[in-house]
Symmetry: C2
Subunit: 343 residues, 2 copies
């Protein structure tokens, strides 16, 4: 292993000079800088992370707590992981992973062992038991998701309330007379992630808005399997409107979208011809569904980037927007093949 002492010896300077050349925390004469950088280059010196962390009290690591809970939407988390990792690297930081099933201890471990300088907590529940713990840690914590009580922590998330509203509004505006929301399955409800109720509230609010006067109902599939979708659809389609009535289905669970589309096709109901379907999912998921589903985007990359922006401002002791602790990203509606043509 090559250390900064080796570099110092080769460059004919003191060890601290090497350190200062690397950190830029004091001015160095051009000549010295050149010699040191040359020595670093020829020796291939890389500073020891542990030693650096110990001395500087900064690990240059971001802790990322991901939801690997059974039933969690797998396809959805990857863009978050990817974007967060890349943002971290841009600021010369690394990312260490922890899984949701470690619970609150996972957080204290990351923080108290000085494994990281800040934590990003994904998919927080409404009354997530980790929130009070997170608020008491010695490292800043950014939440992706909005708990009932953010406890002063910064939160970034999609504006699910707006998403719910947009879904219903879109259907109402395009002359649908009935909206059925295929809710989240039981296991998602059990995890009590906050976005569920936010989305539902948005949808309900929009449906209740006087201007529309649209029929609105919610059904809950038992799970995201084909059978779950079937059961939900049985209920949703039970009382079909009069011939020529326009039905819109809203499917907020990405995992339920494809099974729902398939069940509809199996029944001879073609989305985009016989009824409308609006999904809440990433554009990627929407593009590759069969048929491509009109969707409200989840914008995982945008959400992640904003979270990391706040995080690094916090770490660099820069000013952080103090107006609100909650930052919401506006979803984007993209019409695809599952929307009924205008009447």
């Amino acid at each position: 292993m090559v250390t900064s002492r080796d570099v110092a010896r080769l460059a004919g300077v003191s060890q601290s000079t090497v350190s200062y050349v690397m950190s830029g925390r004091r001015s160095i004469s051009p000549e010295t800088r050149r010699r040191v950088e040359e020595a670093i280059e020829t020796l291939g010196f890389q500073p020891n992370a542990g030693a650096r962390a110990l001395a500087s009290q900064r690990s240059q690591v971001i802790g990322l707590v991901v939801p690997f809970a059974p039933g969690a939407d797998m396809t959805g988390v990857l863009p978050f992981i990817e974007t967060i990792t890349k943002c971290a690297r841009e600021e010369d930081h690394n990312v260490i992973l922890a899984t949701e099933d470690e619970g609150a201890e996972g957080l204290t471990r990351l923080s108290d062992q000085s494994l990281c300088d800040a934590i990003v907590l994904m998919e927080v529940g409404s009354k997530d038991p980790r929130i009070p713990v997170a608020a008491g840690l010695s490292v800043p914590v950014i939440l992706i998701g909005v708990p009932d009580d953010p406890a002063g922590l910064y939160c970034v998330d999609l504006d699910y309330t707006l998403a719910g509203r947009m879904a219903v509004d879109e259907l109402a505006d395009s002359a649908h007379d009935r909206v059925v929301l295929l809710g989240y399955p039981r296991d998602v409800l059990a995890r009590d992630v906050n976005f569920v109720r936010r989305f539902l509230r948005g949808a309900e609010d929009a449906a209740a808005a006087a201007a529309h006067g649209i029929a609105y109902a919610e059904v809950s599939p038992p799970d995201t399997s084909r059978a779950g979708a079937e059961a939900a659809l049985d209920e949703a389609l039970a009382e079909l409107g009069p011939d020529g009535s326009r039905l819109g289905l809203v499917v907020p669970d990405p995992q339920l979208i494809q099974p729902t589309l398939q069940s509809l096709l199996d029944r001879g109901l073609v989305p985009g011809r016989d009824l409308s379907v609006i999904g809440l999912c990433t554009d990627r998921t929407a593009e590759t569904s069969t048929p491509p589903v009109t969707n409200l985007s989840l914008e995982p990359r945008d959400v992640s980037r904003r979270a990391m922006r706040i995080l690094f401002r916090l770490l660099n002791r820069e000013s952080v927007p103090t107006t609100s602790t909650v930052e919401l990203v506006t979803p984007r509606l993209t019409l695809r093949q599952t929307s009924l043509p205008a009447r």
Copy 2:
């Protein structure tokens, strides 16, 4: 921050005794152990990771290099990340993430900065430029994937050659008389991941086997989009066999499966009724495709677990199977709705 010195003071022992109680590397009297453990408990002591790493030359961290390259199969990597992270935690290790786009420097960084004790390298290419670098690092590297020259590194992967063979054999055994392989799209080919050619070789070998005498062809879609699938199918279906002939489609790219199924349905061809489709993907993907596709499983969890088992044997200086440096996992065939019924 509470240190082992604080614990030692409270327990009335020396700092080294605290260390030995935690590591169990020397015998401690029951009474001393009790007092120390009590002190740890009341103070909530957590050892500083950086200091520990510095002193012990062990970071207790596993580096995981994931393929976030554009075009990489997103859904596929998550089970790997999850399984690897959990295996690491079981052995009291953490996981630090690096992305493929960091290239070989990413590896040297992880190793030379002593950020981790071992590296897992996912989705290695046939002539991956990172392999020679990996072989020269001071930490062990486990490959997921099999390069042309493993350079003595341990590799774990699905047996893609066997998978290719199994796909064609299954179709041949179920009285199909024509097999078309919808190959990997250009961007996957460009990445030159080794499994592509292994799968193709397996399929070709099986097709060539005298016993079958089955017509075999390969077509390459430009990409995994709907349009890509369309183009590939145009070619694949160009010369349709005589009426009543049994065609089998093999689709090794998970991302191409759904677009292909959709394109077939659009043409009025129902998989499982008019032709067979066999996909190479995780069971989860197969279950939720429309219709559920007969598949050969990618077994990401099994592959990951085996990789981690080798890794920790290496770290613990236990004996490692020396017979071969390459460990291949057998894919599993599951018949679903896209297989033609027996004639």
